[in-house]
Subunit: 381 residues, 2 copies
């Protein structure tokens, strides 16, 4: 089952993290015969069936990441939950870590906001504080309600708090850790732009998409975004500026708000991203292949949409005992969409799959994607 | 790394054969969280990285296929090189074998031709014979040169002989085995149509494609075929008639000749097929997913092209020591195409990969696919 010549001349890519993003990176790598190895936690179930390429271990435990790095030529990430000191030690030893620890440091939302502010990019008004009094001072200027985000540990809406008044601060637990505080913006539209960048600086940018969030979690993505060419240009420019300024390598996802016609940077993720899942079906090169090309320092591919319109809808666990893996027939019968399930057991508010529909226009793509996702969860559309 | 609930409610699909078709079936299954197990020969290298789902063994050895069948709910095939008696024994024990042994029996070209003739379908003139005198008798009626095909064991041009005159028959080695004899037709165009059919008879048909052969091996496929609607209808009708008449289950590939404006059946393959590789990128549902849906008796998907045009070009080993796995950078730089490499060492006339380009028209798609395939093999376009 082996072929000795394989992988001799192409970089072997090691991905830290074993969730659905790792799985989709693995698929992109297999198609190219590019060796993609995964460092997964014991609790990760998305990589079942790929054992020879999967190392099970916790990257934060001493030696685990070092040993993994020794089996590959470049280390990359499917999530930002990695100890930066461990990464810096790897880099100091000459391991190719892409993106670098300085980019992953921006997974701390306070660090990220300060870095973006230093670049003079359009941002929402914000303050970073460790104390309730800091929030109250910001409220005196911007009014209640406010959005208070933990600098670390948040994703998919976790760690983000809507606070109506000073009384609501008691539950946040100020323990010296940082929070990013913002006003509740009147957001017209949320957008995302994905940029892929090689170590030498070659960069490609995907068409801007519209994202739809609910309870802090991305639920739907529409391509193209359907915005004016001015907004599209502004969004692309922000993505490209940030990627170059922070010397990102790989895919960098930039989430954006449109407020009063202006495009503001919401936040970054230095990795493949939920807003890019529809690129598998809808674009000439998927974000997953693009990320592998970038971190392996291979030529980047076309980012063009190859269909008129595409919609992605996430499949999210709920409080019922419905498992979409039991409902493939219902999902397939409900419309034309590519179903992606991640090998994960359903739990409330857990992303366990997504569906993408390509169509002649957004309404058609949206209808099919929403119908299939709803049928998989036995929910009304 | 396991999740106990997985696969409890969906059929587990067992694929006999471990080449690139098995690998692409595996990818389609993973996306759907549908368990696809593979019975691969020790020499198969395309399934590297999937060991937990791969059984290594020769299906013709006693007990191997039985043991494999016991681990899945339905048995299907990525090639036709399976002992029919073993399959019949499985069927007799109630194992779901899809397509059934009566369909796989048609991998014998003599059996296939007789079956198609019995259906009164438009075929090239032919005779089945075991003797040189049979060929000479056919030549007396149709003239030389003739095409003489071994009834068994042929693929990718192997087992097919162009014979210029009676003197050329000596090398064929008539040993009692059957040959199908045909005139050298003046073929205007070669087409292929893929039909997917569920056990109950539900059927979908992919848009007809044009195939380009060289030395008996498929080299290029173009979608859409660009034929008249009359020819398209005739081709689809032939595919659907055959699938229904022989009670095919899964994907059935029907290769067709256009001669004097008439569509003739060339031959069948009761499985996913090289002519359908471009469906991964170009169609709403790929042939691989469609085959899994069909054999697992799940609703079939849309077969529509989601792009204006697509071209697939095979990457075929040659007599140099060029290995496309060493030339990803050159291939990626040569044009916009999805590169698929199969984990196979290059050997002359061995299919080791393919590339598919989607574009606004055939000329653009063809140019990119041909450029990328040529660059991967370091050949002139």
């Amino acid at each position: 089952m082996t072929d000795g010549r394989h992988g001799v001349h192409q970089p072997r890519v090691g991905v830290v993290g074993g969730g659905q993003l790792a799985r989709m990176l693995t698929h992109a790598g297999e198609r190219l015969d590019l060796e993609v190895r995964i460092l997964a936690k014991p609790s990760d179930t998305s990589m079942r069936g790929h054992d020879p390429l999967v190392t099970v271990g916790d990257p934060d435990e001493p030696g685990v990441l070092d040993a993994f790095a020794a089996t590959v030529d470049v280390v990359t990430f499917e999530n930002e939950l990695v100890d930066l000191d461990v990464l810096r030690a790897l880099e100091a030893r000459g391991v190719a870590v892409r993106p670098g620890s300085h980019v992953l440091a921006m997974s701390n939302k306070a660090t990220q906001r300060r870095a973006l502010a230093a670049l003079s990019l359009p941002l929402p008004p914000f303050v970073v504080t460790t104390e309730a009094s800091g929030v109250e001072k910001f409220a005196a200027e911007h009014g209640w309600p406010l959005v208070v985000k933990s600098a670390t540990g948040g994703y998919d809406g976790r760690g983000v708090h809507m606070v109506d008044d000073a009384g609501g601060l008691a539950t946040l637990g100020f323990d010296g850790s940082e929070f990013v505080v913002e006003p509740m913006l009147d957001i017209e539209l949320e957008l995302a732009v994905l940029v892929a960048r090689r170590p030498g600086g070659d960069t490609v940018t995907f068409p801007v998409v519209e994202t739809v969030q609910r309870r802090g979690m991305c639920r739907e993505v529409h391509a193209p975004a359907g915005v004016s060419s001015e907004t599209e240009r502004a969004a692309r420019h922000l993505g490209e500026s940030i990627a170059a300024s922070v010397d990102a390598v790989g895919v960098l996802a930039v989430e954006l708000f449109v407020v009063d016609g202006e495009v503001l940077v919401n936040e970054l993720a230095p990795r493949v991203h939920n807003s890019g899942h529809l690129t598998i079906e809808a674009n000439d090169t998927s974000q997953f292949e693009q990320h592998l090309r970038a971190v392996a320092d291979l030529p980047l591919g076309s980012t063009s949409l190859r269909v008129p319109a595409a919609t992605m809808v996430n499949v999210v666990g709920d409080t019922t005992d419905v498992d979409p893996r039991d409902r493939l027939a219902e999902g397939m019968a409900a419309g034309d969409a590519a179903i992606h399930l991640y090998g994960k057991a359903p739990r409330p508010e857990r992303k366990i799959g997504h569906v993408t529909s390509c169509g002649p226009d957004r309404a058609t793509a949206h209808r099919d994607a929403a119908s299939v996702a709803a049928a998989l969860m036995n929910e009304p559309v």
